[in-house]
């Protein structure tokens, strides 16, 4: 019989030993949540951390708590595992929007299929770079962990991270999507590539600094290249470049590939992309980390504009390295910079964020029956039986809680989001999804 408490105790003791005798990277245990736990997207982790852990970035202390209890938000990357609740099980760390959605699904599953309660991350962190081998080196004890009740909210930079969209009336539409903010996907260039692109004529800023931009067609060509020495055609110039995609499970990866046409709307990545990744013509690197190992030479990677702003403003740990922010050219962005101003007062470009393709709303996913007291899942549950007024209040945009978007006033959560590079979502409408499971690995 699986005994989660026993494993927790033994590893905690190991942690103590390391702390006592090691001066290197200590085995760290994150505190558990005092109420609800939040996992998932890397894109949203810093802003959600700030909101739930408390921040004074606006000048006022802003901290979202609920009914006298603090929340816990867990990063997408860090140690290989997390424990989210007091006395909770240790499970592999959900890395990104898709895995957050999976973990939420498994956490809320109450049916007879045991594997649906299992969660296994596709990455095994803390033991080396994330790579295509995923969790193959993960110890058996971290695989297929029953995470029932361990995850309450999933952060997602993708509107449909596991392609399970439903209408609100379908019986299995048991997950609801709550708009959180609006972000945009920009591009991060290595300095040499930025200079080459600008010099070739694709500079979105007449002055300095240079704002390199690429078109969607140029990106598609780069990410599905069959050449061993990939390049971008700009006018008559061939600019050597290498594309980087975020790790599997990343909401930004999924969004980016759909937007450039390398993935179907349902998230099935193209054979050409897969072949390019497998052959190493396209590299894989941790999302939003412009210091990842692949970001050398002439390389470009998708970059959340909000993360870039937060890093430049000092709101987030700065993983921008020497990279240069650039944009994707569309009829509305015209290649202009996705950000305006200068750090530490860098702010979103409302024009770029408004772009129908490259601007994107970001979301929180939560079990529908917990915040909707009329939902019955087609008769499977009694209306209101699972309703949690505290969780509902936590996600109501009218409250100064997780979904707030008011940007006037230092005490407002929306103001914190703005300083982390997020604008208000373009819509506050809810949407509905069926769960998705990682199954038995």
């Amino acid at each position: 019989m699986f005994n989660p408490k026993k494993i927790v105790a033994s590893v905690a003791a190991l942690g103590c030993a390391f702390a006592a005798f090691s001066t290197g990277a200590a085995v760290q245990a994150e505190p558990v949540s005092n109420s609800y736990s939040i996992v998932g997207s890397d894109t949203l982790e810093d802003v959600v951390n700030a909101i739930v852990n408390g921040t004074a970035i606006t000048g006022a202390t802003v901290r979202v708590t609920q009914n006298g209890a603090t929340l816990g938000s867990f990063d997408a990357t860090g140690t290989p595992y997390v424990i989210t609740k007091p006395g909770g099980v240790r499970f592999s760390r959900p890395n990104g929007s898709g895995e957050g959605f999976n973990a939420l699904s498994s956490s809320m599953y109450e049916g007879a299929t045991a594997a649906n309660n299992f969660f296994t991350s596709a990455t095994y962190q803390g033991v080396g770079a994330v790579n295509a081998t995923g969790n193959s080196s993960m110890p058996a004890g971290l695989k297929n962990v029953n995470v029932f009740g361990q995850v309450d909210i999933a952060r997602s930079s993708s509107g449909d991270p596991k392609t399970t969209s439903r209408t609100g009336t379908e019986a299995d539409a048991t997950i609801v999507r709550v708009p959180f903010a609006r972000d945009a996907i920009a591009l991060a260039f290595t300095p040499s590539l930025a200079t080459a692109v600008c010099n070739a004529g694709q500079d979105g800023d007449a002055g300095t600094p240079c704002v390199p931009y690429l078109t969607e067609a140029q990106l598609l060509s780069l990410y599905e290249t069959t050449s061993a020495t990939p390049s971008i055609t700009i006018g008559v110039t061939q600019v050597t470049a290498k594309g980087i995609v975020p790790q599997s499970g990343s909401g930004t990866r999924k969004d980016f590939l759909i937007k450039i046409g390398s993935s179907s709307a349902s998230g099935t990545e193209s054979a050409a992309l897969t072949a390019a990744v497998t052959a190493g013509r396209v590299a894989v690197g941790q999302e939003h980390d412009a210091t990842n190992a692949a970001m050398t030479g002439d390389a470009v990677m998708p970059m959340s504009a909000s993360r870039w702003i937060a890093m430049q403003n000092g709101a987030s740990f700065d993983k921008s390295g020497t990279a240069v922010i650039g944009s994707v050219y569309t009829a509305t962005t015209l290649g202009a910079s996705p950000v305006s101003g200068t750090a530490p007062a860098l702010s979103p470009s409302t024009t770029y964020y408004a772009d129908g393709t490259w601007g994107r709303n970001v979301y929180l996913f939560v079990e529908r029956a917990r915040i909707d007291n009329t939902f019955t899942a087609g008769g499977a549950i009694v209306a209101g039986a699972k309703y949690d007024e505290n969780l509902a209040a936590l996600l109501a945009p009218a409250n100064n809680k997780l979904s707030n978007s008011e940007t006037t006033g230092a005490s407002k959560v929306g103001k914190v989001k703005l300083l982390f590079g997020f604008l208000a979502p373009s819509s506050t409408s809810l949407a509905y999804y069926a769960p998705a499971y990682t199954g038995s690995k």
């Binding site: 000048g59 006022a60 609920q66 005490s411």
Partner: protein, 444 residues
Amino acid sequence: MKKNILRAGVVVAAAAMLIGNLAPAQAAYQSNGSFGALHLYDGSYALTSSGTWAGQVVGSASATASDTVLACPSTSTGAFTFLSTSANTGTPASWNAKAPLTFSSGTKNILQPDLSPASQVNGNADGVKTNGGTYNLGVACTSNSGVTLQAAFFRTITVTAGTGAWTAAATAVESTGTSLPTPTWSVTTVSAHDGREAGSVWVGDVLTASKAQPAVFPADYTTTFQWKRNGNPIASQTAATYTVVDADGYAKISVDVVYTAEGTSVTKTSSQTPMVLGGSAVLGGTVTMSAGVSGISNGFLELSIPANAAASFGASTIENNYSVTRGTLGNVQINDTRWITTDGWDLQADVATFVSGANQIAKSNLGLVPNVVVASTKATGVTAAAGTVAGTATYPTAIASAAKNADLGETGVTVLNANLTLRAPRATVAGTYTSTVTLTLATK
């Protein structure tokens, strides 16, 4: 004697230092003990005084702006929002509930603290909600890792048991001003005088008032100044500085600071300066006389006088077929404490015509013979004048004088009196005749 003035000056300076060093810790500028006024704003940043248990409410030092910071004392190392009984407000360990706050970057200021009772995540806020009652809700500035309270801004709220809905009592300035600082003065421009002693104040000096306010002080107070001469306001002198004028010679100057907040004013008065030196002081005063004159057929005399300078007359008698009334002016005290300059003085008297309706007695008919009341007089060098003789008197006339450079004795006090003789002309109609004696004291 000179040493006395010097000593007084030293005492004043020491008092000013003590006030300046007063720590603002826990000073209560509000009647409920709060360090300053705390105004509450709802989720729309509208001023409010009530709320639900979990509703949005933030605090501000201003009644008109939601984003005026609460300034913690510089000694603060941490801050919390808190919910506590009144008795335990000063004891962080005994608060009902609290939540940590962060100062605005680079300051000790708290901006828009989240005062929603439900946001007080540490402690037992639920107990407050369940039991209801009266509590203090606000912001505490602390040190020693939250153990020691440096200052607390709070409102007294009444919580409804069960729902947790609450109503805040109005802010109210602590009207006795117990914690308000006492202002001080200092000589900031020193006028040149021969033999000037340290600590003395001279005509021509510039005095500057200090409110002695702590660096951290409730932002809603306004302050005004009023300079005073011998405790009486000097017209139009309401600036922070005051130039000592000739009229201040031999008087004492002080300054009031009037603290006003929320319509309540509290006045705090500085100590007085030592007596101002220099200047050409002329001191004056009047004594009212009222004497009855009887008819030639044996009448009487009567007198009414101010209580503090009593002139008294005996009954009139008929002497040589004149109505003659004798009396005394009453003691007049001159206090000359010009220890350093010992200028000396002259006292003279003028007398107005005695009047009874349309009838008059010329002032030449009042005889006035001054004398020094030796038992009460400490000054030396004082000489009473010869005075006047009824019937041939002329006024003004000298009463007494003190010689320049004479020793002023232990107290500088001279007490004078005068014998009065009113001899009415024979044709005088019987009646009550009134007059005044005007005494004028002038420095030599």
